[in-house]
Amino acid sequence: MTVGSKALRRVFILTMALTAFTGFGQMPIFKRYYISDIPGMAWSADFYATHFLHYLGASVLLGLFAYFVLDYILTGRKHFQLTPSAYLRIILLVGIVATGILRVFKNMPDVLFSPTFTVFIDISHLGFAMAYLFTALVLAVMKRGWLRNAGYAL
C-alpha cells in the first residue's frame, strides 16, 4: 500500500472522524444535547470512554502520519507531488499533533504545566482541530486532493 492507497485513505478518514467526535466529547455537551440518548450512543457521555477512544484514535493517526511521511519520502514523491491545499492541511495537522502530544504529556502523572500554558494548549488543540475539519470539508467540496500528477490522488 502507498500514500495513495484507498484502504489507508478510508482508515485515515474514519480515524479522524472518531478522534474528532471523541475530542468534542471531552466537553460536557453530548449529554446536554441528547447525543448520548441516541440508542447505542450512551458511551459518548462516559468521559473515561471517550478519553480512551481519543487516545486510541490518536495512536492510530500517529502511526498513519509516520507511515505517510516516510512512504512519501521513499516512494511517493517519485510519482506524486503535494498540492498547495495539502500543505495547508499538513500545517493544521502538525498543529493538532503538536498540541495533542503536549496535552497527553501534561496528563502523565508527575508532569505539571502552568495553568496558563494548559489553557493555551487546550484551546489551540481545539482551534487547530476545528480549522482542519472546516478546511477539509471546504476542500472536499472543491474536490481538491492531497496529491497531483497521478490518477488516484489521496
Binding site: 446536554r32 500517529l62 505517510f68
Partner: protein, 324 residues
C-alpha cells in the same frame, strides 16, 4: 523526626512553595520533573476528631472571599434538561459539600474494640496525586500545583461539572450564575463554576497552615511532606492495629486517613449521596489512559517500519523484474 511538622519548618517549606508558585505563573511548562518530590499531604487521625465543626467554620470564614456571588435572575439555559444549581440562599448548609461548604463532618456509628462508638470524619477533596479532574478538564481550569494541591480556577471554569463526574468521590460542587460562561454563550454552554477545597493554597503560599488544620482544637490533622506523613500514618496504624485510606486510592492521594476500624465499616456507617462522598476503595482512574499514552510512542515507530518495509519490498520487486 517525631512525625510532627513544626510551625517553623512548615513556614520555611511554605516559603519555598511560594517561590515555586511565582515561577509557575509564567506561561511555560512548569518544571517537568517528579512533582511528588515536593508534594505535601495531610494526615487525618479519625480517632481524634470530636466532630465540633471548628474546621468547617474556619474553612467557611477563611474562604468566604472565594465564594461565588451569583447574578440573579440566572440566564435561561437550553435545552430544558439543564438544571440550575443554586446554593447561594443555602450558605449555612454544613452537613454536605456545597459551593459554600468545602469541608464537612461525616458520622459513622461503628464497633471499636467491642464498644459501639460514633466516629466523626472530616471530608473534603482528597487532592489526588494524579487527579482526573485536572487531567480531564477540557479548559485547564482544574490543575494541580507542585505542592500536591488540586485547584479549580474560578476565572476559567465554565461549570460543565465534568470534574465532578470523573472525580471518584464526586467532590466539586456547582454554582450557577457566576463565571466566564456568562460572557460566552450562557444559554447554550456552561452552567456556572465548580467549587471545592483548595487546601488554602494562598495561606500555604504565605507560609500559613490551612484554616481547618489551624483551627482544630484536637490536632486531628497534620500537613507535611507526603513520605513523612505516610511514615507517621503507618506508625499509627501499626500501633493501634488500624487502617489507612488515601494512600493507594485512585492511584494515591495527598489526604491520608487513619482509622481504628476498617474503612469498609465506616463506609457502611456514613450517610452517602450527592455532596456526601463514600469511603469505598478506588482504582486508579487514569491508569488505563496513562498506559495507552506510554504505548503511543510505539505507533509512529510502527508506521515508519511499515513504510520502510513497503519501500524495501517494492525495491526488491523492481530489482527482480529488472533481472528478468
Amino acid at each position: 523526626m517525631d512525625g510532627k511538622i513544626s510551625r517553623r519548618s512548615f513556614i520555611k517549606g511554605g516559603l519555598a512553595v511560594a517561590g515555586a508558585a511565582v515561577a509557575s505563573s509564567l506561561p511555560m511548562p512548569e518544571a517537568v520533573k517528579a512533582s511528588s518530590v515536593e508534594e505535601l499531604a495531610t494526615l487525618i487521625d479519625v480517632r481524634k476528631c470530636i466532630g465540633c465543626e471548628a474546621c468547617v467554620e474556619a474553612c467557611q470564614e477563611v474562604n468566604a472571599p472565594k465564594f461565588p456571588e451569583p447574578k440573579k435572575p440566572f440566564p435561561k439555559m437550553y435545552p430544558s434538561r439543564v438544571k440550575v444549581s443554586d446554593w447561594s440562599d443555602k450558605r449555612d448548609v454544613t452537613d454536605r459539600l456545597t459551593p459554600y461548604n468545602w469541608l464537612f463532618i461525616q458520622e459513622a456509628t461503628v464497633t471499636v474494640n467491642g464498644t459501639e462508638e460514633t466516629l466523626t470524619i472530616p471530608r473534603r477533596c482528597m487532592h489526588c496525586q494524579n487527579p482526573p479532574c485536572a487531567d480531564l478538564c477540557p479548559w485547564g481550569a482544574a490543575y494541580k500545583l507542585k505542592n500536591g494541591i488540586t485547584r479549580i480556577n474560578s476565572d476559567y471554569c465554565l461549570g460543565g461539572s465534568k470534574c465532578k463526574s470523573v472525580c471518584p468521590w464526586h467532590i466539586p460542587q456547582r454554582q450557577t450564575g457566576v463565571g466566564l460562561y456568562l460572557d460566552l454563550l450562557p444559554a447554550f454552554a456552561g452552567n456556572g463554576v465548580m467549587y471545592k477545597c483548595d487546601r488554602c493554597y494562598n495561606r500555604i503560599a504565605d507560609g500559613k497552615l490551612p484554616a481547618c488544620i489551624d483551627a482544630c482544637p484536637e490536632d486531628v490533622q497534620k500537613i507535611g511532606p507526603r513520605d513523612e506523613i505516610l511514615k507517621e500514618a503507618h506508625a499509627i496504624q501499626k500501633e493501634i492495629g488500624g487502617y489507612i485510606y488515601g494512600e493507594k486510592e485512585n492511584g494515591g492521594t495527598n489526604t491520608i486517613y487513619v482509622s481504628p476500624v476498617p474503612f469498609e465499616d465506616l463506609n457502611n456507617g456514613i450517610e452517602k449521596g450527592s455532596g456526601r462522598p463514600n469511603l469505598k476503595p478506588k482504582k486508579d482512574s487514569m491508569a488505563q489512559a496513562d498506559n495507552l499514552a506510554k504505548a503511543m510512542v510505539i505507533a509512529p515507530i510502527a508506521g515508519m517500519a511499515a513504510a520502510a518495509a513497503n519501500f524495501f519490498i517494492g525495491a526488491k520487486k523492481s530489482m527482480g523484474s529488472e533481472d528478468k
